[in-house]
Amino acid sequence: MAAPKVAVVGAGVIGLSTALCITEACPSCSVSVLSDQFSPNTTSDVAAGMLIPHTYPGTPIHVQKQWFKETFTYLFAISNSAEAPEAGIHLVSGWQVFKNPPKEETPFWSDVVLGFRPMSEAELQKFPRHQFGQAFTTLKCDCPSYLLWLEKRLKATGVQMHTRKVEDLWDLHSEYNVVVNCAGIGAHQLVGDQELFPIRGQVLEVHAPWVKNFIRDGDGFTYVYPGIQRVTLGGTREKDIWSLSPDPGTTKDIFDRCCSLEPSLQKAQDVMVKVGLRPSRPSVRLQREVFSQGGLKLAVVHNYGHGAGGFSVHRGTAKEAARLVGECIAALQGSSSRAKL
């Protein structure tokens, strides 16, 4: 087979990182990214990009831990290099606080992040409504910067980006050998996945440059994440809500909850409101599939459904998806050489 042609559908963090991993694993492949949206209009652009994993009930923990570890290691190296500001990657320390003791004192990722330990009594005094807490250092991706940086690296290796709405993966069968489905919440329509549903999240981005530490309520609803230029305040987790319009009542509620965690936020300036739909699923769909119609076949690799944990596991799942693409190509080359006999 001449240079295998691979189309990656979706240009959020999953699509772009998967495309990059494919170029790394398969230098002879011709890779294109197709998406109706690119940064700054993807779901990823709304995410705070904190490396604190979401637990998928349907995926074995050791697999999730491997994905997180690969992602953390990859970004850790970037954060420590001259590329860090452009890639938007930086270390941040802080606290996860609980009003009630958490189900597990040490989560599966506690030895991947840095310096994980329970908070001291003195530290907890800053959070009078919370009884228990964990202190650690992790990484944050400034999402729009990171996506732009990924796009730049992709273009440098010759990857083409096409603004195009793909209505049906089969439409691509004549142009591409393998299609990688990184459509995120778009997979609901694209492949009719009934297990995929949105969890709507509204966040505020404010100017509060004196906030240097993150604070997260262990219930997952309230968080203060300092980014490079702005601090992300969150949030909401609204299951099955599809609206992308900011809700003013929610804005006030988020602001109040965050101010109760970090009173100095009362003086924050320049509030911007964003909404994203977490592409949620009991487990990430990371698998091969073969579409066939009328004797013709299309190799598909799915890599979507990362829900609240996209940034935390993106590199790990991208590498696995690239490996699956390699398997597809090997299978195609095997069958095409058989066809020649």
Binding site: A82, W210, K212
Partner: protein, 347 residues
């Protein structure tokens, strides 16, 4: 009773505020006046990054450790208040790095969450094999000094733009107590060979992705002569110069190179940071802080001086503890003068 505070850096202004808070209701005749030839943003305190951290060892000077603790606890108490932002006060976490194991510092239980660095964390800093992580405070002089000035103005404290040439000239005007917070130039009012400049030079950069302080230590070259990075609310301070005995307030190109190269080696991401300023200042270094009374006799009258200077590179770190100690010394002066108590009924 007229009290003159000479010096309007962090020591002068905080001592003035502490005095007023404690005594204005007890001493109705109390009049506070601040005299200085340099005000914010032209004081040594304005150039400092504003990072709370004492030196690594207190050389058995427990008193200074207590003053440091008092300051930290006082500031921590203000963190949740609406004034915090205006004061330039916020929490910050970060790293102290060493090339060999060192004993824990006397302030390990003052700061929050003090612990040793893990091997993985040390991977971030090649060349350093040991270190600490903790959460401490920033108190930016550029905000704190104006905040103190506002508080003092609200309380009716008067400010004078004037270079005081001698204690006598102030007493001759009828001032009863002089608080000497003149920092590095205290020697001009009264020779003090123990007071020497610890010259520092810093580069200000825009590097908002840096969220941690990083202080390296080279036991051989001494405090502040090893690179440090301190992120502030508007810009990040790069430093690592301590020149004992150097009085120059001019920026040196060689020191600029030293700071820039060392900090970029420490944090490669800084190579992309935009330089927005440079500053040199003289840390008022002394083997110990001079915080004591001195009585002067002029003519029939007795005048008192409270010295409060020589805080080296830890002025912000220790300021409130010293202000409280100065206030106690003032209290003993009042005691001796047997000032009238509440008004007596007329007979």
């Amino acid at each position: 009773m007229r009290v003159a505070i000479v010096g309007a850096g962090v020591i002068g202004l905080s001592t003035a505020l502490c005095l007023h808070q404690q005594y204005h209701s007890l001493v109705p005749s109390l009049e506070l006046e601040v005299y200085a030839d340099r005000y914010s943003p032209h004081t040594t305190s304005d150039g400092a990054a504003g990072f709370w951290q004492p030196y690594l060892s207190d050389h058995g000077n427990l008193q200074e450790t207590l003053w440091n603790k008092e300051t930290f606890d006082y500031l921590l108490g203000h963190l949740g208040s609406p004034a915090a932002k205006e004061m330039g006060l916020f929490l910050i976490s970060g790293y102290n790095l060493f090339t060999q194991p060192v004993p824990d510092p006397p302030w390990k239980n003052i700061v929050l969450g003090f612990r040793n660095l893990t091997p993985k964390e040390l991977e971030l800093f090649p060349g350093y094999s040991y270190g600490w992580f903790n959460t401490a405070l920033m108190l930016e002089g550029r905000s704190y000094l104006p905040w103190l000035t506002n508080k003092l103005t609200q309380r009716g404290v008067k400010f004078f733009h004037k270079k005081v040439e001698s204690f006598q000239e102030v007493f001759a005007q009828g001032v009863d107590v002089l608080i000497n917070c003149t920092g590095i130039r205290a020697g001009e009012l009264q020779p003090d060979p123990e007071l020497q400049p610890g010259r520092g030079q810093i580069i200000k950069v825009l590097a908002p992705w840096v969220k941690h302080f990083i202080i390296t230590h080279d036991i051989k070259s001494g405090i502040y002569n090893s690179p440090y990075v301190i992120p502030g609310s508007e810009f990040t301070v790069l430093g690592g110069i301590y020149q004992h005995g150097n009085w120059s307030e001019e920026n040196s190109a060689q020191d600029h190179q030293t700071v820039w190269e060392n900090c970029c080696r420490l944090l490669p991401a800084l190579q992309k940071a935009k330089i927005v300023g440079e500053w040199s200042g003289l840390r008022p270094a002394r083997p110990r802080v001079r915080l004591e009374r001195e009585t002067f006799h002029h003519g029939q009258l007795q005048a008192e001086v409270i010295h409060n200077y020589g805080h080296g590179g830890f002025g912000i770190t220790i300021h409130w503890g010293c202000a409280m100690a100065a206030a106690r010394l003032f209290g003993s002066i009042l005691q001796e003068k047997k000032l009238p108590g509440p008004p007596q009924p007329r007979l």
